[in-house]
C-alpha cells in the first residue's frame, strides 16, 4: 500500500513539476499575443507599416506583430490562397481592393461588420459608408480600406507652355486636353502629347466608363454594363487619344520613363505614383498634377484603387489582437502615418476632415491635393464575380490594345469585349 501511494505521489510530483515550471510560460503567452500580418508592395508601403508598427507597439505592448511581405498584390493573393489550403493563414492580410472579392467568395475573409457593430456607430470612428463600401464584397464587410487612390493627370508644365497652353489653367474636359496634347505632339524631337494607362488592368478604363456614368456589369450582375452608349463613348475616347492626340503605343514602364525624361506632355495614372514620379522627374522640368478631365459633371464617378486589411485569424486571442491592429492602422492616426509615408489617400473620414492630422501635409505637398478633391466622386474598384474575376480584366485590356494599335474600330471592340466577358461571367441558375 505504502509503496503504491508513494509511487502515485511521485508520479503526481513528476507531472506537477514541469506543469509548475511551465505555468509562468502559459501566463506569459496569455498576456502577450503574437500575430502575423501580411502586406504587399513593401517598396511602396514599408515605411507606412513601420511607422504604424512602432506606434502600435507603444500602445499595445502585450501584442507582438510579425510581418510577412510579398513583392506585389498578385503574389500576396497567391500566398493567402496557398496558405488557406494548408491552414497556415496569417492573422491579418492587406490585399488589393479588386482581389478582396475572391477571398470573400471563397470564405477566407471574415465578416467585419459584427466586430464593427460591437464598437458602436462606425461613422463615429471615421468609417463613413462610402469608405466602408470599398471593402464590401460577396455580401460581407470583407475588409477595411487601408490605402486608397484614384486616377489623376500629371503634366509637364514646360511642354504645356511651349505648346501655347497655360499651365495654371489646365483644360478641364477631354476636348481641351486632347487639343492641347495634339499641340504638344507637334513639338518634335520625339515629344509625345499624352499617354493614358489603358494597359495593366481595367482600372483606368473603368475611370472613363464611370466618368460617363456607366457600369461594368448591370445591377444584378447578370450581364455586361459596358455594351451601351457609355461604354462606346469610353472606347471612342481612347481612339481619339490615338488618332487626334497621337498617343504613342507604349508599355506603362516605357511611358513613365518617357514622362520622367520630359518627352511626354501628360500622363494619366494613379495618384499612388506621385511620390515615385517626383523622384523620377527630379529637376528635369516642373511637374504638376490635376484632376481627371470631367466627362459628366452629374453622373461621372472615378474608381478607387488601393488596399484593405482582411481578418483571417480564427484563434480568439489572435483574432482580437489582429482586429486591434487593423483598427489602429485604419484609424485617424494610423491613416495620417500611412498618407505621409506613401502618398495614398486616407481611408478614415476623421483623418480627411480634421486638419490636425493631415492639413499641414497637404499644404506642403500640393501634388497630392487633386486626388483628395476627387474623393467625393470616388466609388469602389469594380471586381467581377466568380472565379474568372481577374481574367475578365485581362480580356478587356487585350481588346483595348486593338484600338490603341488601330486594328479595330471602337464598335467592333465593344462587341467582341462584351461577347468575351459574357462567356467569363458565372452562370446564374
Amino acid at each position: 500500500m505504502d509503496t503504491t501511494i508513494s509511487r502515485r505521489a511521485a508520479i503526481r510530483v513528476a507531472w506537477a513539476l514541469p506543469v509548475g515550471l511551465a505555468m509562468p510560460a502559459i501566463a506569459r503567452a496569455q498576456a502577450g499575443t503574437t500575430i502575423t500580418v501580411h502586406y504587399a508592395q513593401p517598396f511602396i508601403y514599408k515605411d507606412s507599416y513601420d511607422a504604424i508598427l512602432a506606434e502600435f507597439a507603444k500602445r499595445e505592448p502585450s501584442i507582438k506583430v510579425n510581418t510577412v511581405t510579398t513583392p506585389n498584390y498578385e503574389e500576396g493573393a497567391q500566398l493567402i490562397l496557398r496558405q488557406a489550403a494548408t491552414n497556415q493563414l496569417p492573422d491579418l492580410s492587406y490585399q488589393g481592393f479588386n482581389r478582396l472579392r475572391i477571398f470573400a467568395e471563397r470564405g477566407i475573409a471574415q465578416d467585419l461588420a459584427p466586430l464593427l457593430r460591437t464598437e458602436g456607430e462606425p461613422v463615429k470612428a471615421g468609417y463613413s459608408p462610402n469608405l466602408l463600401a470599398l471593402g464590401q464584397f460577396g455580401g460581407i464587410q470583407a475588409g477595411l480600406a487601408y490605402a486608397a487612390s484614384n486616377p489623376i493627370c500629371y503634366y509637364n508644365a514646360g511642354l504645356v507652355k511651349r505648346a501655347g497652353g497655360d499651365p495654371d489653367n489646365f483644360p478641364r474636359d477631354w476636348d481641351g486636353v486632347l487639343a492641347l496634347a495634339a499641340k504638344i505632339d507637334t513639338l518634335g524631337d520625339g515629344t509625345d502629347g499624352l499617354w493614358y494607362t489603358w494597359n495593366g488592368d481595367d482600372w483606368m478604363f473603368s475611370a472613363l466608363l464611370f466618368g460617363h456614368g456607366g457600369r461594368m456589369l448591370n445591377a444584378d450582375e447578370t450581364d455586361v454594363g459596358f455594351a451601351g452608349p457609355e461604354g462606346l463613348a469610353s472606347l471612342k475616347l481612347i481612339e481619339r487619344m490615338v488618332k487626334q492626340a497621337g498617343m504613342p503605343n507604349l508599355t506603362a514602364a516605357a511611358a513613365r520613363q518617357a514622362f520622367a525624361a520630359g518627352k511626354l506632355g501628360m500622363i494619366f495614372q494613379t495618384t499612388a505614383l506621385v511620390r515615385g514620379t517626383v523622384s523620377g522627374v527630379g529637376q528635369n522640368f516642373e511637374l504638376r498634377t490635376t484632376g481627371m478631365p470631367v466627362i459628366d459633371a452629374e453622373k461621372g464617378r472615378l474608381p478607387t484603387g488601393g488596399a484593405a486589411g482582411m481578418l483571417c485569424a480564427k484563434d480568439p486571442a489572435k483574432r482580437e489582437a489582429a482586429w486591434k491592429f487593423l483598427r489602429f492602422s485604419t484609424g485617424p492616426e494610423g491613416q495620417a502615418m500611412m498618407v505621409k509615408n506613401t502618398g495614398y489617400l486616407p481611408c478614415n473620414q476623421i483623418a480627411i476632415d480634421d486638419p490636425q492630422y493631415l492639413g499641414q501635409f497637404y499644404r506642403e505637398n500640393p501634388l497630392f491635393v487633386p486626388s483628395v478633391k476627387q474623393i467625393p466622386i470616388s466609388i469602389p474598384w469594380y471586381a467581377f464575380p466568380g472565379s474568372n474575376s481577374v481574367r475578365v480584366t485581362q480580356t478587356m485590356v487585350d481588346n483595348l490594345a486593338r484600338i490603341v494599335e488601330s486594328r479595330a474600330t471602337p464598335e467592333e471592340v465593344q462587341k467582341d469585349m462584351a461577347t468575351e466577358v459574357r462567356r467569363l461571367l458565372p452562370r446564374k441558375s
Binding site: E74, E75, Q78, I80, L81, R82, A84, A85, I102, F103, R106, I108, G190, T191, D192, N199, P248, N249, L250, T251, A253, A254, Q257, A258, A261, K263, L264, S387, N388, V390, R391, Q394, V397, D398, N399, A401, R402, V404, E405
Partner: protein
C-alpha cells in the same frame, strides 16, 4: 562438392551485401529524386485531369477536359504559336551566329580570351536585370536605338509595345542571351578537332576555306552541334523572364509564350488544374525534342 556447397552461399551473401551497399549509397540521391522530382511531376500529371482551383475546397476529376479546353483557348493557342516562332528564330540565330563567331575567334591570332569573355557575359548576367537595360535601349522615344535611327531619318517602331515587332525584339534578346553560351561550346568543339585532318586535307588538295569547313570542320563538329541544338531549343522553349519584365504577354497576347500562359493561368487566375495541363504539354514538347535529337540525329553525327 562440400567446397562448392560452402562457397556458394558465401558468394551470394557477398553479392547481396554489395547490392545492399550500392542501394544504401544511392539512397540519398534516390530519395531526393523521388521527393523533389518524381512525386511533384506525378502530382502535376494528376492535377492536369482535375478542375482544381487555388483557394476552393476540393476538386472534380474532369478527364481530358483541360486538354479539350486548350484546343479552343485563344490564349493558349496563341502562346503555343508564339513559342514556336520564338524557338524558330532564336535557335538558328544563336547557333549560326555562335558558329560564325567561334570560327572567326579561332582563326584570329589575338584576343581570344577577351572575345570569349565579352560574348559570354550575357550568360552570366541576370536576365531580369538585363531586361531592364533592354527596355531602355529599345524605348520608342528616349531609347538610343530609335534615337540613332532618327539621325538617319527613320522613325523606328515601338519595339516592345507594337504587336508587329514585339516577338522579333524578344527573339533578338534571346539570341543575344544564348549566343555566348553556344560560342563557348563551339570553341571547345573546334579545339578538339585534330590538326592532322586539316593537314591531310591540304595534302589532298582541298582548295578553299569553305571546302575545308564543309569537309572537315562541320562533320567533326557534329556532336557539339547536336548538343548545342538540344540545349538551345530547350533554353528557348523556356523563355519567361524577359516576357514578364518587358511585355507581360502584350499587346493583345502578341508576346504570350507557353511558360507565361502557364504562370498566368496558375498564379494569376488560380486555375491550378488547367495550368498543370499546360505544364504537361510543355513537358511533352521538351521530351519529344530531346528524344528526336538523341534518337534520330545522334546516329548521324558520330564518326568514331
Amino acid at each position: 562438392m562440400s567446397d562448392l556447397a560452402i562457397a556458394a552461399p558465401h558468394r551470394r551473401a557477398a553479392g547481396t551485401g554489395e547490392a545492399m551497399a550500392a542501394w544504401a549509397l544511392t539512397l540519398p540521391a534516390a530519395i531526393a529524386y523521388l521527393l523533389m522530382l518524381l512525386l511533384p511531376t506525378l502530382a502535376t500529371a494528376a492535377l492536369a485531369f482535375t478542375d482544381y482551383e487555388l483557394g476552393l475546397d476540393g476538386f472534380r476529376w474532369i478527364g481530358l477536359g483541360n486538354f479539350a479546353e486548350m484546343l479552343e483557348d485563344r490564349g493558349f493557342l496563341q502562346s503555343l504559336r508564339n513559342t514556336l516562332v520564338y524557338v524558330g528564330l532564336v535557335t538558328p540565330g544563336s547557333i549560326i551566329g555562335a558558329l560564325l563567331l567561334a570560327l572567326a575567334i579561332e582563326a584570329g591570332t589575338r584576343g581570344r580570351t577577351l572575345f570569349r569573355a565579352v560574348f559570354f557575359l550575357p550568360v552570366v548576367s541576370l536576365s531580369v536585370a538585363m531586361a531592364a537595360a533592354w527596355q531602355y535601349l529599345l524605348h520608342p522615344t528616349i531609347g538610343p536605338l530609335n534615337a540613332a535611327l532618327r539621325v538617319i531619318g527613320i522613325e523606328g517602331p515601338a519595339w516592345l509595345s507594337s504587336s508587329d515587332t514585339v516577338l522579333l525584339s524578344l527573339a533578338a534578346i534571346g539570341i543575344w542571351e544564348n549566343l555566348g553560351f553556344n560560342l563557348v561550346l563551339f570553341l571547345a568543339g573546334l579545339t578538339a578537332i585534330p590538326r592532322e585532318l586539316y593537314a591531310a586535307a591540304a595534302v589532298d588538295g582541298v582548295p578553299s576555306a569553305w571546302e575545308r569547313f564543309r569537309l572537315v570542320t562541320w562533320p567533326l563538329l557534329g556532336p557539339t552541334t547536336l548538343f548545342v541544338l538540344t540545349i538551345t531549343m530547350i533554353r528557348s522553349v523556356r523563355v519567361f523572364d524577359t516576357v514578364v519584365v518587358l511585355t507581360q504577354g502584350g499587346p493583345n497576347k502578341a508576346s504570350q509564350v507557353l511558360l507565361y500562359t502557364l504562370y498566368e493561368e496558375g498564379f494569376t487566375y488560380f486555375r491550378i488544374g488547367y495550368s498543370a495541363a499546360i505544364t504537361l504539354v510543355f513537358l511533352g514538347i521538351v521530351l519529344a525534342s530531346m528524344w528526336l535529337q538523341t534518337k534520330v540525329l545522334d546516329k548521324r553525327v558520330h564518326y568514331a
